[in-house]
Symmetry: C2
Subunit: 340 residues, 2 copies
DNA sequence: ACTGGCACTCGCTACAGTCGAGTGCCAGGG
DNA sequence: CCCTGGCACTCGACTGTAGCGAGTGCCAGT
């Protein structure tokens, strides 16, 4: 399978033209728009090879060629350089993100920014609890038999749970519990808390034990085990750009997939390598998204990663541009988090 | 404009048939499917009158009739009874809403439930801060010059803000401030706090005054004035039901509108009368939504209203059914809130 | 006031014909 | 051996025509 330089150049040209025009591209148009230095006939021969290898295909006999998912993959891996951001884009990012008042605000601004810059659907995962540490745990009495447990994480996330106590607990006891819990848990990574919480239940004075047990249950079950992930979404209207051509005319499966947090988390949340990930078309494990591509990366203060963010769009998307934007936004968000 | 009983019956039949079949309905089909007791020709005459009055229209000469927005309006106001919920639906509501762990959970479950039951786009507003009272204000030191201000409202909402202090503040002072603030503000409606906060700044010991001033600014600016509203959305995939027939083939404007929280708030947040509100097509003030209808109502514990919820779909929707569902869900959510 | 009958409208579908972009292949030339 | 120009071919897109049929408006009759 000799793919010499020219054939690769042809593939690159096809991808670029198709992405920008959204129309199958023919040999003549190709040699006109790119300086390939050869005739249409030669390009046709190259195209035949590329098609045989599965990088491009013809929608119908006698139409131009269109890249396949495999073609995009090759393009992304070997034929494109990450496009540097324009100064205007850099400015947009900074302007958009300064002045955020809290984590919610940061996440919302980020997701809208991403959607606006890439003109795709943007997805941002809130900092994962699993990767957060406890900054403070607050107990707020609601009634004598009810507490609100508020957990503030170092990433800025705040989670609250209503706790139904086994019996009335005087205010002084609540104060004691608050102190004990924070002494033990403050600073601990959430994933490390289970043994600490166990120890707490045992160390606590006997009269506080039932209450502490209840608190421990809530803490472990709803905050640690079922690690509650949150997701923000924006730019779904961008799915309708390009008429009905992308997504073969039906947004349905895409919209359905976007409603499933589990799916979105899988898409952008798997941040083992800190590099940018590109999923193209049927590389995706969800059938609903086999007509879509996802560009995602992790973000976090400094070198650590606390969550993921990315964009989703038609396989026919501007990969170099979107990769650049996703990376840049992730870096800015990371810096923002590092400040807090 | 004599609209006798039979003409109204014809209009009702047209609306019902069109809603269920999505096809313009002709005189013959009408008499076949409904027991009108008259011939097609008579129905045609009635239709001519209805058309003249603007209640129905023909997409083209020689096609069946379709209700106009005005026709739907008449139908909703005078020709339909709220459809009682099926036992299955009642059960679905109860099953869906029990076991919610916190406000976020309640809201998320509610919005998904609504989307599922009505098969439309569902929108739920979080309890409005403007209508909430302060239950507790917590100050959590992040560093010596930074506090996290956490406000817990009686509706279960929890809002946090990072506060940059003018200078280092010792832990004891934070404790004092916390006590003072809560003594003054706990229990107050958020809309009543501005004078209280002012008073606080003046009453506080001089050494705490700069800090208190900063806190007051954050409190007033980000929690009271710019009353932060939150919205949850679900079921956008339902917009694609009925192919491209609804929304004249373009989901674009709808999706755009749904991304604007301001728009959504206007739609479901204006809850002056505690009754169910129905906005049909161009009754809507947003151009983007002139092809859509909205059914909304307020909800809250007991008789008070703390927020709104509703559904949005094509003007061709099952109004009686959706009105019933929206009301029922609102009532259940109200009960749920009353328990907490 | 309702009904049956009738002519008319007009969107939809099928079909045939034309056009043209794009292709595959082949023979010839550097 | 690779590239090129030429050529026949394919097939989707578009156009125009014709027939069908659902649905209508109107009118005369009961």
């Amino acid at each position: 399978m000799g793919l010499d330089d020219r054939k690769l150049a042809v593939l690159r040209a096809i991808v670029e033209d198709y992405v920008s025009t959204q129309e199958p591209v023919g040999s003549k148009a190709l040699v006109e728009r790119h300086q390939l230095g050869v005739s249409p006939a030669t390009v046709r021969n190259d195209m035949a090879v590329l098609e045989e290898e599965g990088y491009i295909r013809q929608p119908h006999t006698s139409a131009g060629r269109v890249p396949t998912d495999r073609g995009y993959r090759l393009f992304v891996d070997r034929l494109s350089r990450v496009k540097p951001l324009s100064p205007a884009e850099r400015r947009a990012i900074e302007r958009f993100l300064v002045g955020a008042v809290d984590l919610d605000d940061v996440v919302h601004r980020t997701v809208r920014l991403l959607a606006q810059l890439t003109r795709q659907v943007a997805v941002v995962q809130y900092p994962s609890l699993a990767r957060s540490s406890v900054r403070h745990l607050e107990l707020v009495p609601i009634s004598t038999t009810r507490l609100m447990l508020v957990m503030i994480a170092d990433t800025g996330r705040v989670e609250q749970r209503l706790v139904e106590l086994p019996g009335p607990v005087p205010a002084d006891d609540v104060t004691d519990l608050r102190r004990l819990i924070n002494e033990k848990l403050a600073g601990a990574r959430l994933s490390d808390t289970p043994p600490l919480v166990q120890a707490l239940v045992e160390e606590v004075p006997p009269k506080l034990r039932p209450t502490m047990t209840t608190l421990a249950t809530v803490l472990l079950e709803t905050l640690v085990e079922r690690h509650e992930e949150r997701i923000a979404l924006a730019g779904t209207a961008n799915l309708t750009r390009g008429g009905l051509l992308d997504f073969q005319g039906s947004l349905r499966p895409i919209l359905e997939a976007l409603e499933e947090e589990v799916v979105l988390l899988k898409l952008i949340g798997e941040t083992e390598p800190s590099t940018t990930r590109v999923l193209i078309g049927d590389e995706n494990e969800f059938d609903n998204l086999r007509a879509a591509s996802v560009v995602s990366t992790g973000y976090g203060p400094g070198a650590t990663i606390v969550g993921g963010l990315g964009v989703l769009g038609p396989t026919r998307m501007d990969y170099p541009g979107n990769i650049a934007t996703v990376r840049a936004v992730a870096r800015y968000v990371g810096e923002l988090l590092a400040q807090n």
